[in-house]
């Protein structure tokens, strides 16, 4: 193959030696053989053998792809991707306004970032999503499991129990209203214990543990193939203190982002990250902007910013490949993440489950 030596995934020291010895293409390397190679560059025969194996693998992969087999590349036409996207589900958030601006809910195979000031509801939404991803397909969910990586220690099981109980109650009410066979069958497995047992919780205390956890995640996900959501609550926290070398931080964060997008793509799961806010001090005024710098803004595919407007919580969709920018209001009740009560429907109190605003969703969930 006419693949240049500089483009092969070898160690940099080895690559430098190969360039100094005058090797240009991969074909020359393969022709020389391991003994000749170890003599020319001055490395041991085992190292030369290893390097040649890598080269051979790359070239065989190239040849297979040129011949038309799909191999390991993720190559397809836009038409096939469109069909895939149309059959993919969304993870609903139980707040229909938020689902609307997101285009149906949190999308699978994409990274969604939630930024906001402290106390605005980021962890609440993460816990809500960890429960919502498990909703069975007949109710309009994705029927997957969730991985929750916690760096700040803000995951409270009692709260998840409340949210899960409200979700199960909601599904029971739908099943009673619809009276269909598969609804009742699905409800047998959709119970509180089941929901809690399918949320896999990891606690990482510093950035090295977080990086290690993310790099080990593909193995975990291939064992637990039903995982459809990976939440990292607090990606800013471990990277914002004790970091002297900022260029190292940028490099690690970008490597982390690429690893997460590979996970999202290969395992067809949604990745949700929460970020903190920091102040940018300008000439005349200061603004709140998401933390971790400019380059991190490009890592997430979809960006939501939660903020306050007096005492009302608002969510703004700031970046999305398919939806327009817009702002909606939301509410956090004892049952979790919910819409804001419209002023007209005043007769429905907050405690009851039978709300008129919930009925439109049941129509949506029928496919």
């Amino acid at each position: 193959m006419q693949r240049e030596v500089g483009t092969l995934p070898l160690a940099p020291a080895l690559r430098a030696r190969l360039a100094a010895a005058g090797f240009q293409t991969a074909q020359e390397l393969l022709d020389t053989g391991p003994c000749g190679l170890s003599k020319e560059i001055g490395i041991s025969r085992e190292e030369a053998l290893e390097a040649l194996q890598v080269v051979r693998q790359e070239c065989q992969g190239d040849a297979a792809r040129t011949a038309g087999e799909s191999g390991a590349t993720r190559r397809c036409t836009a038409l096939e991707l469109l069909e895939e996207e149309q059959t993919q589900g969304f993870i609903i958030t139980f707040c229909s306004a938020l689902d609307n601006i997101l285009g149906g809910g949190v999308q699978l195979t994409k990274i969604t970032e939630i930024c906001g000031a402290p106390g605005v509801g980021k962890t609440q939404l993460c816990m809500q999503l960890a429960v919502d991803v498990q909703i069975p397909e007949c109710f309009g969910g994705v029927a997957g499991e969730a991985v929750f990586i916690d760096t700040e220690g803000s995951f409270l099981v009692d709260r998840v129990v409340d949210i899960a109980a409200a979700c199960v109650q909601h599904c029971h009410l739908i099943a009673e209203a619809q009276q269909e066979q598969d609804h009742r069958k699905a409800l047998e497995t959709f119970s509180l214990e089941n929901i809690l047992s399918h949320i896999y919780y990891f606690r990482c205390c510093d950035y090295i543990e977080l990086l290690a956890q993310v790099y080990l995640l593909p193995e975990f996900l291939s064992e637990h193939s039903k995982v459809r959501l990976v939440v990292i609550d607090g990606i800013a926290f471990p990277f914002r203190h004790d970091f002297e070398d900022l260029s190292l931080r940028t490099r690690l964060l970008n490597g982390l982002a690429q690893q997460l997008i590979i996970i999202a793509n290969d395992h067809k799961s949604a990745v949700v990250l929460t970020n903190q806010m920091t102040t940018r001090i300008g000439q005349s005024q200061s603004t709140l902007v998401p933390a971790l710098g400019e380059s991190w803004g490009h890592a997430a595919t979809v960006r939501l910013i939660f903020h306050w407007d007096n005492s009302q919580r608002l969510a703004t969709l700031y970046k999305s490949p398919s939806q327009k920018e817009s702002t909606i209001a939301y509410h956090i009740t004892s049952h979790g993440f919910r819409d804001v009560q419209p002023p007209a429907a005043t007769h429905s109190a907050e405690g009851t489950e039978r709300n008129p605003r919930k009925r439109p969703r049941t129509e949506e969930e029928e496919h």
Binding site: R65, T73, C76, N254, G282, S295
Partner: protein, 312 residues
């Protein structure tokens, strides 16, 4: 830097090579740049033989100069100008994207780079009926949005055919990206007639996502790989008359400095045209689809001109 090997040219035997190597001459460059009298004395080889070998090596390995007029004729016949689908952007780029060149779109997150790329892909695939290769390294390619754009442009049932002409490759690391480009080069040079028809455009969204994890720290390997990538892109553009569009990020020097394109000075020499996309409003509360595109670098137009775009 090609290593001297027996059979590289007539007259270069194995014994000669061993003698030369014993004196420190291993590659063609070493041979051609050394003093042949000196070499013939040290290696006890015939001077005439060395001169003959040198002549053949020079003929084999040096580049041929080309006449400016010939070059111009060749460019006139092989360059095409592809419309981007947005008349104001075409005006900014001097009627469109030129094949044989690398064009760069840069902007802050949410400024519309992926949307403009999708628009270009839609316009080339639907309007010109040419094939497009979209290299996605951020996961931002959404086929439903592309479908929406196609539906807005045509009423006939041509969207399916247009979607089939757009190939999407997801390459999330630098080596995958280089493999994908190498594979493209092999296929184009062998002219394999598959579903890949006449390819005219390659879009890479984004180049900084794959390069950023390598830069920084005290490694120079990141820069080397970046230059390798730029060479692949430029060779593809020039040899096969493709228009290559890449997207790039912007960074700030300090917390409050002005925005500047990412990847540094070395990368700034790679694209021949650079367009900066910005939002019109400075606050992010208002949701608008208006963007401002300004020309930061161009071989044909004066820099600094601005147009307004609608990415809605």
């Amino acid at each position: 830097m090609v290593v001297l090997r027996a059979g590289l040219c007539p007259g270069l035997t194995e014994d000669m090579i061993q003698l030369l190597r014993a004196n420190g001459i291993r590659t063609v460059v070493d041979f051609v740049s050394s003093d042949l009298e000196d070499v013939s004395q040290k290696c006890s080889l015939s001077y005439k033989a060395l001169v003959a070998v040198r002549r053949v090596l020079l003929a084999q390995f040096s580049a041929f100069p080309a006449n400016g007029a010939d070059l111009y004729e060749e460019l006139k016949s092989s360059t095409a100008i592809l419309p981007t689908g947005s008349p104001s952007l075409d005006q900014l780029l001097d009627s469109g994207l030129y094949t044989g060149e690398v064009t760069e779109l840069m902007g802050a997150p949410g400024s519309g780079k992926t949307q403009v790329c999708l628009g270009i892909a839609a316009s080339v695939s639907l309007g010109l009926k040419q094939h497009v290769l979209f290299l996605d390294s951020t996961g931002g390619f959404t086929a439903s949005r592309l479908y929406q754009m196609l539906r807005a442009q045509t009423e006939d049932e041509e969207e399916q055919a247009a979607l089939q002409r757009i190939q999407v490759v997801r390459a999330f690391s630098i080596y995958e990206l280089l493999s994908a480009l190498q594979e493209l080069r092999d296929r184009l040079s062998q002219q394999v007639v598959s579903s890949m028809g006449p390819l005219k455009m390659v879009l890479l969204d984004s180049v900084s996502a794959v390069i950023y994890p390598l830069l920084g720290g005290r490694q120079s390997e990141g820069l080397a790989l970046m230059m390798q990538l730029s060479r692949e892109l430029k060779t593809l553009a020039r040899e096969f008359s493709l228009a290559v569009v890449v997207t790039n990020q912007v960074t700030r020097d300090s917390g409050t400095g002005p925005l500047k394109p990412a990847l540094g000075r070395s990368w700034s020499f790679v694209p021949s045209t650079r367009v900066l996309l910005e939002s019109k409003e400075t606050t992010w509360d208002k949701g608008t689809t208006q963007r401002v595109a300004s020309l930061a670098k161009s071989p044909r137009q004066p820099t600094g001109i601005q147009v307004e775009l609608d990415i809605g």
